[in-house]
Symmetry: C2
Subunit: 136 residues, 2 copies
DNA sequence: CAGCATCCCAAGTGATACTG
DNA sequence: CAGTATCACTTGGGATGCTG
């Protein structure tokens, strides 16, 4: 919709011409809602660097639960951002690596992460200012 | 952390040197988790175009509830991405507009939204492929 | 018009225990 | 090692009704 100016005045979030479908079927939201999860960006960021095994990822993101790590990896795999390779060793080991689609996504995504790191202080300041004016 | 290679091997999500604080205090996550909300990007996308009043935003995002629109606007305002101006007319009207900080954020963010729109089909295809292989 | 307050349900998430 | 299963809890978010 960003690339489609003549639609900009129409309802956002529903650029589809498919009124029969559910409300949540905006293509952009369909994609964004997935990578917007609490842990998705952290995992993508890790795997953008190099492949990792399950346990390594767990150590890289210390406060993620085993449950959420598994689930996030499955979701990212399902959407085609990462691949999962099982090595039938004993005990088994599993390696996760980013796909081409994942790298394609991470290119613009990393810019946002970069922005967040760079401008964190400004956001914090805005928050404090807002909270100050609120306790009046 | 992306811009800080020598920290890339340390735990992601906790690049702070402040162990006393809570786990969720990674700067990047602190910022990202806010704009990752279900409605934040939609509102930002609308206000990136031009200022809007409350009711206009409501019409632009038809399936948002009044409650969530208010809450999302407050959150975005608190983080400094948008401004809120009250016109003491009768009945009152309130206008929301993007701040410089908001525009600064939206620049990289819009690239991700663009990507989502462009690659939606690929993601859908990946999902179907995954789901197919799963029902074995 | 632009909210706030309340209720309530569904989804997300963590903790724990168990397994090939 | 890399999961799966279950439960309990917290949070998100919709519906409704009321207000300046």
């Amino acid at each position: 919709m960003i690339a489609n100016p003549d639609r900009a005045q129409k309802p956002i979030g529903k650029p589809c011409d498919t009124p029969g479908r559910d409300a949540g079927n905006c293509p952009v939201r369909d994609v964004i809602d997935r990578i917007a999860g609490k842990w998705s960006t952290l995992i993508l960021e890790a795997l953008a660097k190099r492949p990792y095994r399950f346990g390594e990822l767990r150590r890289l993101v210390p406060d993620i639960s085993q449950r959420m790590l598994t689930q996030t990896l499955r979701d990212l795999q399902r959407d085609g951002y990462i691949d999962r390779e099982v090595f039938p060793t004993k005990p088994p080991s599993v390696e996760y690596r980013m796909t081409d689609l994942g790298r394609s996504l991470f290119e613009p995504l990393s810019k946002v992460l970069q922005w967040a790191g760079d401008n964190h202080a400004l956001v914090r300041a805005a928050r404090e200012k807002y909270d100050q004016s609120e306790l009046a």
